[in-house]
């Protein structure tokens, strides 16, 4: 394991400007009440969020509108694919749940027979500097999803706040060149290990969730959900997309665009057949996808416990709470069966 290196707060700006010369550096900014990510600009003051922010990093790897080919509208066929980007970049200030989201996206786009070349290029050109969380917001429940606020898997460099500055440690070969700067001093100071809150939203195993498909609970759970797409757009692992052609003044573009399984048009087919007509079937589809299908497909459930879906839900319908409610009902059904009573 590499040693920890210390960066004094005063040297932060100089260190970042040093990085920004060789890499395209993305850092978090706080403006009008919200955290957003933006390219590094020495003029603005730099601070790092201690915990979850509204925006998931999905946008930097799988943009909400991504061009994959361009064509000339007047020709009958001239689709030419787009060149992937190569400029090396650094993203600083990610939290463990965001990085876990990116690792899940790797499974979807890279562990497949047809690798997504554009996504792969974005991943290869990016060095992730992850930040251990300082505190857990009330919706945070990464500890219930096999993660922890100070875990560093998937990060190239991990850093955490400490008295008078930051402690940095490189985790991968990709991260090493970032710590060569002379602003950093070796130190044997170690980040203090905290024990984090657990058990807020416990969920059953994927196999148990699969047995809940025909349960009546989905109607009650979905009655206040209006099936808009906010939770899927905010979620770091929801990457459903649609492909569309768009034309303007003779120039055309084939794009992949974010889509959401919660919207009615998602599974409506030509001729009117729709496999998920009712809101209950859509809420069930997303819940089971997060807690069961993703595990059966990729061996890892796709909920990283960030709680972002609760932050953005306009009806304050808490998705992790929904998962916990289904688990409670599962427990009750098991007790009933165990006690030999007939299921209601």
């Amino acid at each position: 394991m590499n040693k920890w290196r210390k960066l004094k707060t005063g040297d932060l700006k100089a260190y970042l400007s040093g990085l920004a010369e060789k890499w395209e550096l993305w850092v978090p900014y706080f403006n009008d009440g919200k955290w957003e990510f933006g390219p590094y600009d020495a003029g603005r003051d730099i601070d790092f969020p201690d915990s979850i922010i509204n925006v998931s990093l999905k946008q930097l790897f799988f943009p909400k509108r991504r061009s994959i080919a361009t064509f000339d509208e007047n020709s009958s066929w001239s689709l030419k694919q787009v060149m992937p980007l190569e400029k090396p970049r650094i993203i600083m200030g990610l939290h463990p749940c965001d990085v876990a989201g990116i690792k899940y996206m790797d499974k979807v786009f890279l562990d497949s027979e047809h690798k997504d070349v554009l996504y792969e290029a974005e991943r290869n050109r990016t060095i992730l500097i992850g930040m251990a969380c300082g505190k857990m917001e009330d919706n945070c429940h990464c500890t219930d999803r096999g993660l922890s606020p100070d875990s560093s898997n998937g990060m190239d460099v991990v850093y955490t706040r400490t008295t008078g500055g930051y402690l940095l440690q490189s985790m991968t070969k990709k991260g090493e060149p970032l710590l060569q700067s002379d602003r950093l001093k070796d130190t044997d100071e170690k980040p203090v290990k905290k024990d984090w809150r657990r058990g807020k939203y416990k969920i059953a195993s994927p196999e148990e969730f699969m047995t809940m498909y025909d349960d009546r609970i989905w109607h009650d759970l979905s009655d206040i959900c209006l099936t808009c797409g906010i939770c899927t757009y905010a979620c770091p692992t929801c990457v459903c997309f649609l492909v569309a052609d768009e034309k303007f003044k003779g120039k055309g573009e084939r794009v992949t665009v974010w889509d959401s399984c919660q919207l009615q048009s998602y599974s409506r087919m030509a001729g009117g057949h729709d496999t998920r007509k009712t809101p209950a079937s859509r809420v069930r589809n997303r819940t089971l996808d997060k807690f069961a299908y993703s595990h059966l497909r990729y061996g890892q459930i796709s909920c990283t416990g960030c709680g972002r879906c609760v932050l953005v839900c306009p009806l304050k319908r808490s998705f992790p709470q929904l998962g916990a409610t289904v688990t409670e009902r599962l427990q009750k059904k098991k007790e009933k069966v165990a006690a030999g009573k007939e299921e209601d």
């Binding site: 361009t70 768009e246 303007f248 003044k249």
Partner: protein, 144 residues
């Protein structure tokens, strides 16, 4: 005739009156600018403001909609509906930033060829000294 500099105008004309008026302007040799693209609709009541929005988003400099004078609509009440819809659509477009001179809603009967030619020329003039002051609802160029 250099079209590119002249403001591009979309004219949606009702078939029974205004389109016939435009025809009359043509047959009686009234001059009107050539940068007008005419779309014929059965009645001004058929004009869905979505068409006007899309025209501006596609980059037209001006949109003109014309139908029969209230009272002699071939289908009876088409232009009454159109009057309300286009009035509301105009207020919305003005509010979001389209300059009022870019929209011209009028009534032209089949006999008013001259009026059609004059209004088109006047509309083009208004648009010409407008262009450059601000962009219409910009539709960003697609990065090639």
């Amino acid at each position: 005739m250099q079209i590119e500099k002249d403001p591009k105008i979309l004219a949606i004309l009702c078939k029974w009156c205004s389109y016939a008026g435009a025809d009359l302007a043509g047959t009686s040799r009234f001059k009107y600018p050539a940068n007008i693209r005419i779309v014929q609709v059965p009645c001004s009541g058929r004009v869905d403001p979505v068409m006007v929005f899309r025209a501006f988003v596609e980059g037209y400099d001006g949109v003109m909609v014309s139908g029969c004078h209230p009272g002699d609509c071939h289908y009876g009440t088409g232009n009454y509906h159109a009057r309300r819809r286009l009035a509301v659509a105009r207020r919305l477009l003005e509010f979001t930033g389209v300059h009022p001179d870019r929209m011209h809603f009028t009534w032209i009967s089949a006999a008013e060829g001259k009026k059609f030619a004059e209004e088109c020329a006047e509309f083009t003039e208004k648009l010409r000294n407008l262009s450059g002051t601000e962009k219409t609802l910009a539709r960003e160029e697609i990065a090639t």
